[in-house]
Amino acid sequence: MSLIDLANPTRFLALTARVLPWLAGATAILLLIGLYQSAMAPDDYQQGATVKIMFIHVPNAWLSMFVWGIMSVASLGTLVWRHPLADVAAKTAAPIGAAFTFLALVTGSLWGRPMWGTYWEWDARLTSVLILFLMYLGLIALWRAVEDPSRAARAAAVLTLVGAINIPIIKFSVDWWNTLHQPASVIRMGGPTLDNAFLIPLLVMAIAFSLLFITLHLAAMRNEILRRRVRSLQMMQANQKAA
């Protein structure tokens, strides 16, 4: 079984129909374990109970960038290998990625309220995630601007790859801009000094959210394939009526 075998949409549908229930079950179990561990995690000595927002916030932020990576690989599949399902994968990943990015922003701002005293701070990370969110929305707008899916796919693939080159540049410039305009006043947890009591639930939640993304993505791809079939059937029917 290789990627080429999955080029046949019918075979893809059959395979995912068998895999999806297991994936959904694994996601649910891991999410339950992760949420339980997060709830049982001790309070931070400075941040109190609000530190638990991290267990939702950080996996969302990771996935917001990971999904763009997935879309970039799928875009290469569209432009270079002409894999027939690549544009389905790229198209359906965009709204899911936008949702993860939005959740990262919302949880970040909810976390910011007790920590920094304000819902929105022009902090470097928040700002660059906001720009990432805008780019997701632009990409979705591009997908929705054109009726013909294969035409939209090639345009969106070019934009996704340009975005993949630009996102690190934007991140770097925002960091630079932020240190220039605003001295570091933000208290944050030191990354590598994270205690195991926090690290283990965080990792479990990260795996659970990644599985959640895979599940949602496969389900969305199935929907998109079926939607395209319905559309072409409707067009055939309309042609028959016209003839």
Partner: protein, 222 residues
Amino acid sequence: MTALSALIRRDIRIALRVGGGALIGVLFFLTVTVLMPFAVGPDLALLTRLGPAILWLGALLASLLTLDRLFMADHEDGSLDLIVMSRTPLELACAAKALAHWLAAGLPLIVATPVLGLLLNLDGTATLAVALTLLAGTPALTFTGMIGAALAVTLHRGGLLLAVLVLPLSIPVLIFGVAASQAAITGPLSFGTPFSILCALSLVSFVVGPFAAAASLRHGLD
């Protein structure tokens, strides 16, 4: 080489003639700059402080507005298909078109900057700094914007979609352009650091822009 220089000369000539619309960008730049004091008040000290930012925003929007002319007119009269099919590599042709567009629509913005600087109460060094950063930064705006223009022309959509796609990509140029101007006026940073990063951004866009635009034209036109 002759094909490319012919393309550049042709594009500049078309842009400057009646119906070309390159100089409308300058008029738009002027209008936006004149609008700003109405929004923030005629306080000269405040305008001095905001001046570089206002000029950069105005130039950014002006160069964005003229972008959809880059491929649209050629697509309408069919010459874009000839360019795509010709023996000159499409990447080089795209770069030549962007260069011509920058010469016709981007350079006039920089020439207009000293006059607009007077309106915003900027002194000599500040105006010079803004003009210099615009000279280094607007090529990046044109060359990254070209990607959006190529996408828009293959999709037969323009206007707002183009703006939504291109504006996030121009954030780094805006950041370093304004930072370099501010550094030249008030410090504390040296002018050289952000200015060289701005030049680097322009150089990167020279590489990425033509390839992405050519890819989208090649895959998108039919």
